[in-house]
């Protein structure tokens, strides 16, 4: 379960929340059950990415409580936080691929960090890259790929570890309709297998095509909880 309880967030400057900085998330509370699917919507700058950052532990709230996969995030030590991050797959808006690594090595990263055997990594990565249509570009560097291809590499990296929680920030932004459809099929398939999914988007057509409860945000506040 994902649970936000009266969560407040300001961005840190020099390691501490600045008192003068504006709240990017204000008094936010909601719950997403295990295996749930939520669209996270709102205008640009509403705070969608900030909410996702709180979910993948890249930021800590200065007030309130967050439980991720039934774990109280504030009580985690650094090691436990890292282990929890391994159970979370994230598709970033800006892909965040490592330019010095090949497509294969980028996708293999989460498995390597989890110290999976190289044989299993080879099999899983090859299969997934085939599935996203990039089996011919295993050895290419990310900068040699188009935006859509980079997006698919980022998606493959996010799902390779079969995460318990999948977070996606505008995942279809660089994809054509067919690729967007394939991605949504993958995400809904993972969701059916028990992965909790949160997809941030402002693409209302996509939301209509794949109906699911909404979390709508405006100015850092939750204005609609679809449940």
């Amino acid at each position: 379960m994902i649970r936000f309880e009266n969560v407040w967030l300001k961005y840190r400057h020099g390691g501490k929340s600045s008192a003068a900085a504006a709240d990017v998330v204000s008094n936010m509370s909601f719950e997403i059950p295990d295996g749930g699917f939520r669209w996270l919507t709102g205008a640009s700058g509403a705070g969608k990415t900030s909410v996702l950052k709180l979910m993948y532990l890249a930021e800590h709230p200065y007030r309130g409580r967050i439980d991720i996969l039934d774990v109280h995030a504030a009580r985690l030590g650094r090691r436990d936080a890292a282990m929890l991050r391994r159970r979370i797959g994230v598709i970033y808006q800006d892909f965040r691929l490592l330019s010095h690594l090949s497509v294969y090595d980028n996708v293999a990263l989460p498995m390597r960090l989890a110290r999976r055997p190289e044989k299993q990594i080879r099999s899983d990565v090859t299969e997934l890259l085939h599935w996203v249509g990039l089996s011919a570009k295993l050895d290419n560097r990310p900068y040699e790929l188009s935006g859509g291809e980079q997006q698919r590499v980022a998606i493959a990296r996010a799902v390779i570890g079969r995460p318990k929680l999948l977070l996606a920030d505008e995942p279809t932004g660089n994809l054509d309709d067919e690729q967007a459809h394939r991605l949504m099929l993958l995400i809904t398939a993972l969701n059916r297998m028990g992965t909790t999914v949160v997809v941030a988007t402002h693409n209302l057509a996509l939301v209509k095509e794949y109906p699911a409860p909404l979390l709508e945000i405006a100015h850092g506040r939750l204005v609609l909880d679809g449940d």
């Binding site: 800590h60 890292a82 991050r85 965040r96 490592l98 990263l109 390597r112 960090l113 190289e118």
Partner: protein, 304 residues
């Protein structure tokens, strides 16, 4: 099959953080090498000081000099001259070895710088000198009393005062060498820390990505530490090797003071120094590992 195995090994050793290009590969070994060179010289200096001090303390501390004024006058006992009586006591003493009365020619050589070519013509009351080795610690007080009894005014001295000064000098040289070693270790750690910080700054984005994917602090710190360790060990090995010619040259210079004769085939480095030189890369590697670990783990604290 072999190709697949090679690819598997290559992929397992993937440079996840791209450190190959981020951590200065030439600068760090060069600077650590310079530190290692200085450390080798400091160790050698300390050991040389200790060796010379041992040698000098042994020579000077045990040297016995006896001056007998009016040596040909009769002894107080009435048997023979004062010189003969003193020499007889010295020869009979178990604490004195090799008592030798300086010949007239040897005395002439000693006094030549002050009194000219032939001191005998000056008809000066020159005392007789007997040299030997004093085998006991402490001043020869009992011997002095015995000599006074047969030849009053005879003076027996050892080089103990000189030996204690040499010991103090050696102590200060060794303390300086230890200070130099500490400073060198500190500077090496600072250099490694700066190089690691430069690498962290350059690979910040990659580190953030890997951290976000669930890398442990140790996963990231170990990758930096392995590179720092390798570069430090390599630099220190080069520095120690580069110091060898200088050490041989210094050993050659110090050979006469250490009791090695000029016709000796060539001074070898002392065994403790030979054993400590291979330790330099090991110590540098340890400093590299520890410094990189502390630097990276401290830096990672700023990430959530």
């Amino acid at each position: 099959m072999a190709g697949w195995c090679w690819m598997a090994i290559k992929r397992r050793n993937v440079d996840l953080l791209g450190l190959r290009s981020a951590m200065a590969d030439r600068l760090l070994p060069s600077l650590v090498g310079a530190m290692s060179f200085l450390a080798a010289l400091a160790i050698a200096g300390s050991m040389a000081a200790a060796t010379l001090a041992r040698q000098w303390q042994g020579d000077a501390g045990s040297a016995l000099t006896v001056q007998i004024a009016d040596p040909s006058a009769p002894a107080a006992t009435g048997k023979g001259s004062r010189l003969q009586a003193v020499l007889a006591i010295l020869q009979a003493s178990p604490n004195v070895s090799d008592p030798t009365s300086l010949s007239a020619a040897a005395m002439n050589d000693l006094l030549k710088p002050w009194l000219g070519e032939d001191t005998a013509q000056l008809n000066l009351p020159v005392p007789a000198i007997i040299t030997g080795s004093w085998n006991q610690p402490g001043p020869p007080a009992v011997l002095q009393a015995a000599l006074d009894a047969v030849a009053p005014g005879t003076l027996a001295t050892t080089g103990e005062a000189w030996a204690s000064r040499v010991a103090a000098l050696t102590g200060s040289i060794q303390a300086s060498a230890v200070s130099v070693l500490l400073i060198v270790a500190f500077v090496a750690a600072a250099v490694i820390s700066v190089a690691t910080r430069a690498g962290l700054a350059q690979r910040r984005e990659a580190i953030e990505i890997i951290h976000g994917l669930g890398a442990l602090d140790s996963d990231i710190a170990n990758r930096f530490a392995i590179r720092a360790t390798r570069a430090s060990a390599m630099g220190a090995a080069i520095g120690a090797l580069a110091a060898l010619p200088a050490l041989f040259w210094l050993a050659r210079l110090a050979a006469p003071f250490a009791g090695i004769l000029p016709q000796h085939p060539g001074p070898a480095l002392p065994l403790p120094l030979c054993a400590s030189l291979p330790a330099l890369p090991v110590i540098a590697a340890l400093i590299g590992w520890m410094t990189a670990q502390v630097t990276v783990r401290g830096w990672l604290r700023q990430l959530a």
